[in-house]
């Protein structure tokens, strides 16, 4: 793997600068809108560790996202704020533990069976929250008071202010991007990609495939928990739909739009999808139809996702181009 070149770094810094300037340029509505979009981007990036880098198409990712929301809702007292510093680690542990448990079962299957079994586990969690009364059943459950970031009773950041909340989300997003970049480039990440491309060979070299994938699946679920925590904190409401298969499929579409082979691709995919919905919704009655056609167009014309536009416009290193081309062939055969 080559280190990112100067142009890529400058582009990244420019994006970050734009993200920092954004809440000062748009209305409160759009600050909240972009906070939501970045949370979904974080969720899509966490899924891509399993789908793009691990080669495992999971349809239960929303379960970890939604579970995080429910855990936060259940931890929140009715008339008081919880502290993010204590509840966030608990939520991450719960989502990670759920992913560990589900992963230990589903990773024994391959291919289309893996997709089906993850779907089944996701739906199990959906109906668990949908059909039991303790968390509001099908009506969902409210978080009346947002969690606060406080040390010894002194509030550090006021999450009720949309701009502050946006910056907290942006901070977590940068952290998740950094973590995923480190993991993907580490020996662990290379082994994960090797097992994706040739499981038999990776095993015969001595890589413990099951443990490798279970670790990735658990980390992916734990990061989905961070996104779920932030989403629940933003909306102040959690409903079973948050962990249904429909949500899982939407995250998967974000990953496909953004591209499987990079860390930030799915973030771009999430922004494109959510931005597109926002624009189409405002102007068209049959916006879902148009959205569907646009997604089909993107997948056909850009099989590696919209991230592919970057090397088209700016040129790419031969190494990168070589990595991208086979992926395109793969996507067409799939």
């Amino acid at each position: 793997m080559s280190m990112p070149n100067l142009r890529v770094r400058l582009f990244g810094i420019a994006c970050l600068a734009m993200a920092i300037a954004l809440p000062f340029c748009v209305s409160t509505y759009y600050t909240q809108f972009f906070a939501k979009a970045l949370i979904m981007g974080m969720l899509a990036m966490s899924l891509n560790l399993v789908v793009g880098h691990g080669g495992l198409v999971s349809l239960c990712h929303a379960a970890f996202f939604g579970l995080a929301g429910y855990v936060l809702a259940l931890l929140s007292p009715r008339y008081d704020a919880t502290s993010m510093l204590t509840t966030l680690p608990i939520v991450i542990l719960c989502s990670g533990a759920a992913a560990l448990l589900i992963g230990a079962l589903v990773l024994r299957t391959r291919g289309v069976y893996f997709i089906m079994v993850t779907l089944a586990f996701g739906e199990m969690l959906f109906f668990f929250f949908h059909d039991t009364k303790f968390a509001g059943g099908s009506d969902g459950i409210s978080i009346n008071i947002r969690p606060e970031i406080a040390i010894a009773g002194r509030q550090l950041l006021d999450l009720d202010k949309p701009v502050t909340f946006y910056f907290v989300v942006l901070g977590f997003l940068v952290g998740v991007i950094a973590l995923l970049t480190i993991v993907v480039r580490s020996p662990f990440g290379r082994a994960l990609a090797a097992a994706r491309d040739n499981e038999r060979r990776a095993r015969s070299l001595g890589f413990p495939i099951f443990r490798l994938r279970l670790t990735a699946f658990t980390l992916s679920g734990a990061l989905a928990g961070v996104a779920g925590y932030l989403a629940a904190a933003q909306f102040g409401f959690v409903a079973p739909q948050m962990l249904g298969w429909h949500q899982s499929a939407t995250i998967l579409v974000m990953v496909l739009i953004g591209g499987l082979r990079s860390v930030t691709g799915p973030l771009v995919g999430a922004l494109v999808l959510i931005g597109m919905e926002e624009v189409l919704k405002a102007h068209l009655d049959n916006w879902k139809l148009v959205e569907g056609l646009i997604i089909i167009g993107i997948v056909i014309l850009l099989p590696n996702g919209v991230r592919q536009i970057w090397p088209m416009v700016f040129g790419a290193s031969p190494q990168r181009a070589a990595e991208i081309k086979p992926a395109a062939a793969e996507a067409r055969h799939a």
Binding site: R201, A202, R211, A322
Partner: protein, 252 residues
């Protein structure tokens, strides 16, 4: 005597009604190349898969340096010192030659699944990787994507990957398959050089190569061992001549 690195005793593998391998016992010694020959369908590939752990035997046992590894998975066997190359080239086709070999070395490193720190910091393994690539003669091609290599080069890369795992026992399944004579010469020389401190099992159809390389020879037919011993003894074994080479056949 510690010279038997890999021992299989009474191995049997049944696929439904088919007995693919039946009561096969084989000893592979350090410093020797043990060739397994036999007609198609004799059970040679099944035997390699049983030894490597990709198939579990119906009965019998496999010992690596005296330790029972019969029920170990392929990755555990690899970490115990068993390396294998495949008959059909099995590479990470989208990665460079160097990355293929580096992954092999990583698999045997102290922390193969380390999550922090890039792959460049694997200093102790850099040398292992470079040596393995040099040894098979691919140094000039180390940045080429594996997919773009010629068939012969891919076979060389297969062996480089096995070398980089620093195995004590190497299983090679038809290393010369699909190679031209000149390419084959290089690989034969390479294989011969591997046995110095290792034990090798080679399944091969090319009889010239087998008799050039083998220190010990096992002949299989219909899943059974019909002869085993030194090449010159096996060559004149009447059972082998009749069964494997046909009535009029002469070896080499």
């Amino acid at each position: 005597m510690h010279d038997i690195a890999l021992r299989a005793a009474g191995l049997q593998k049944r696929f439904g009604g088919l007995l693919a391998v039946s009561d096969v016992s084989i000893d592979i010694r350090v410093g020797e190349i043990h060739a397994v020959i036999g007609p198609n369908g004799a059970g040679k590939s099944t035997l390699i898969n049983l030894l490597a752990g990709e198939l579990l035997p119906t009965s019998g046992e496999v010992l690596l340096n005296g330790a029972d590894i019969t029920s170990l998975s392929p990755d555990r066997r690899a970490r115990a010192g068993l390396g294998r190359a495949y008959q059909k080239t099995t590479l990470f086709a989208q990665f460079s030659v160097h990355e293929n070999v580096r992954l092999a070395a990583q698999a045997r490193s102290i922390a193969p699944l380390r999550m922090f720190g890039g792959t460049r910091s694997d200093r102790p393994y850099d040398q292992l990787v470079t040596d393995a690539i040099d040894r098979v003669g691919l140094s000039a091609r180390s940045q080429v994507i594996a997919d773009k290599l010629s068939h012969g080069e891919q076979r060389q890369l297969e062996i480089a990957m096995v070398l980089a795992t620093n195995p004590q026992v190497i299983l090679l399944d038809e290393p010369l398959a699909g190679m031209g004579p000149s390419e084959a010469r290089g690989i034969i020389g390479l294989i011969a050089s591997l046995k110095a401190d290792r034990a090798l099992l080679v399944v091969e159809h090319d009889m010239d190569a087998v008799f050039e390389l083998a220190d010990r020879l096992t002949v299989m037919q219909d899943g059974r061992v019909i002869a085993t011993g030194l090449p010159q003894d096996v060559r004149v074994d009447p059972g082998v001549r009749a069964a494997y080479l046909g009535a009029d056949g002469g070896i080499a």
